[in-house]
Symmetry: D2
């Protein structure tokens, strides 16, 4: 079992300078921690709560920046795609295509992502059970692409609230896909502020600790130099200055957890 | 208050002959009941549980059939769209564009549907609270299209189960949009049969009765001559032969319900 | 099918004068509506959110008042019991023993209530599925008492929220027990105000309309001359002056609903 | 921060010999692990799904056995109480009175337990939010007994299913009460087998790992020499032979987790 990998970055691609600054900081952090890093950022927030919310730089302006991060920093890059036509051009600039949770059952999008040959990270829909994801994996592997990752980002629980069912991590792992825990969106309160989503940043380390103890291939955690002024997901992003101490503990917990599970099997 | 309108038809557009047969039967039924009818059918089931499930005829073969139903039978037609590029061509063949529940937060799709000028029926996401739909309505009306309808098709409740919260109907009506109750998908058991969704057809009349008593502008009910052999949503579609007696009772309940609410206001 | 019966009264027995005043008003109301009435009130609120909340007059002071209402007004009376030892003395003063939702699985309480020979109204636990109530009914009928009623008062849905699943009414009716819909507690927001429960009085008529359209033997609705100053359940009790107009509509809906279901069977 | 304590034993007190055998085995196990142990067993299963299920030895026969375990093995003992009158006699034989989840809002029971001066362990109702437990703690401390523990045993999630929200552990800890995680009942499937509850024993270690990583004062885990033939909670009890290896890993994870949290604060 490899050490926990990290998928991290700011929610939105705000500017070239901002993206490069955060990517460089995360790269140094991951090196100090001895773990793998995939840089995550979004070129388009395609499903904002409100139409007046900031959507991001867009595809055309973003792909060169993503390509630059890959080349200049040597980091693998992940970004999300929202329709089938985006998959091929995005695949030229990144290493992992991510399917948003709301879209995880859209067959055409899954097949287009699969066809790129890149790794595909599918977020479990908030409306799906963990065992339902076996059908999603089969859509991609059945199209000839074995590189699927599954990410848990919480399950609908009443209104404007998500809950993480940690039984879901080993259940999804039965598909053979590496399982990632998305701590940032698991503590989101969807629509909880009327025209935007709220969040509970203080529970990011809490749920991340649970995830590595249960056993995951990776953690997905968004971070930002100034989350309270970020254009999206501010309430649930971790401040960059708090990121490394949190990760240091998580890496140590993960090491013990994986050693125990290796000994038991 | 107008009498309850009906959005009905088979889940999938299976063939021209099948579509015309069901449309003609429903047209006669609606005429006998004295209610409005919008014919509903889908040219593509874009988010099937499993990739091996039947998806339908596709856009190119379906639009001429939808146009023929409109012209030869004089029925308004509704179908669902799955990405922004479909909106304009589909709008030429139908009267109402429907946004699937999983896609109800996809801003580009909403704006493209709004731009057609056609009526847009948005299904409430299973992962959203009824009050969250005010932001969805604003995306469409803010784009200059005031013709929005909202449809309730249930809310996530544990795994593989939906529940209908009937408080949601008057809450969504506060937006000013006509509110439709989708009885067919509210009794779906998503993913409940492993590689397909289950359903509880026997509760279609039960929940429809509740909806008209609470007050709705319309009912959305899928029907089929032989639901047990339908390619999708069979377990929750009503057999065509049972449709008219069920609707007769619902229309009478609706008439009393609307008279009472008119007198009270 | 008999017309919908009414179980009504103020949440708490506040005083002899208050109880008699409300009982007399409800008796006249039920007579005008032509429906049966069971007077409901509680001598002890045994599970308040907070220990500092008002609990009521207590058993010893309340039983003579309940007996007086029965005799002087000729009304059947219902009250709730909280432990096995209360059942026998309470049964001497009332016609129906009610088992609170939290206690619906406590075998000793159910058996003691059954042993009185009085009718037993069991509220479905917020934590139970409707089909789970078959086992509860069997505990009582298996003890030789066939007079069981089941009442739905909502099901846990996320935190501090209940939802009514109207499929549950016909499911519970399969037990053979008359099914009651408790509109007052179904719109409660348990613990929703920190040290007390909130409520949404405006949805009492909404959900009651759904219930009679689906089909119930009775409605359970708490009412108070001045709910905003009531010691418990104020936010979800209906004002006495609004009670009769609401009930008049519900009785008419019930009459049509039962005629339709009688014709269909 | 003390090492994780263990509350363990078989669900039911089946016989004197059975109780002593399991208690002795657990005592040796805890000694080898270097952790505290409280022996748990129930003299009465007062809320079985079905009236025909085995309830246990009863109060009179059980108290001498509990007292014998305390004296002969020197183990503190915990058992659950179901009505106020049981509290005083049970308190003479045990060290911790436990309030079952369904009864956690019954004021008289809480006050009677508080009045014994013994420690009181309250299970969070499946129908309550974690923050709702502050009112429950206040009922006991307000009666002059500061020795309260809170135990999480899952929250209602749809029908016949519980989910553990691990945010609830630190939320309940804000009350100042030690927080216990009950892995056995958190994996129960209430009513899930028609006339009995199901369970998912394989998730006991999974959720226990999450709990110690998040941080708890103790774990509550039922165990049995032959769980598949136990009279209650068999599907979710851990076999005695699997208990020590599981606990050994949990103790190591707890040690690291507490060291990290001590360093961070």
């Amino acid at each position: 079992d490899l050490p926990v990998a990290l998928i991290a970055g700011p929610c939105q691609l705000e500017s070239r300078a901002h993206a490069l600054e955060v990517a460089a900081a995360l790269k140094e952090c991951a090196a100090r921690l001895g773990i793998g890093l995939v840089y995550k950022t979004s070129f388009d927030k395609a499903n904002r709560t409100s139409a007046s919310a900031e959507r991001g730089l867009g595809l055309a302006k973003s792909l060169p920046i993503l390509a630059e991060i890959r080349e200049s920093l040597g980091l693998p890059v992940l970004t999300d795609v929202h329709d089938a036509a985006q998959c091929a051009p995005v695949a030229e600039a990144v290493d992992v295509l991510q399917i948003p949770a709301f879209l995880c059952r859209q067959t055409d999008l899954l097949l287009a992502a699969a066809a790129t040959g890149k790794a595909v990270n599918v977020k479990k829909g908030q409306f799906l059970a963990p065992w339902d994801m076996a059908n999603v994996v089969a859509k991609i592997t059945g199209a000839g692409n074995p590189n699927v990752l599954l990410t848990d980002r919480g399950t609908s629980f009443g209104y404007n609230t998500l809950v993480t069912d940690f039984r879901g991590l080993p259940i999804m792992a039965r598909t053979g896909a590496p399982v990632i825990f998305d701590a940032t969106h698991s503590v989101q309160q969807p629509g909880g502020q009327g025209t935007s989503s709220g969040g509970q940043r203080e529970f990011v380390p809490v749920l991340s600790r649970a995830a590595v103890a249960v056993g995951v291939a990776g953690l997905f955690i968004e971070t930002h130099p100034d989350p309270d002024h970020a254009p999206s997901d501010g309430p649930n992003m971790v401040a960059l200055r708090d990121f490394e101490p949190m990760m240091r503990d998580l890496v140590a917990l993960d090491r013990l957890s994986k050693a125990q599970r290796a000994a038991a099997s």
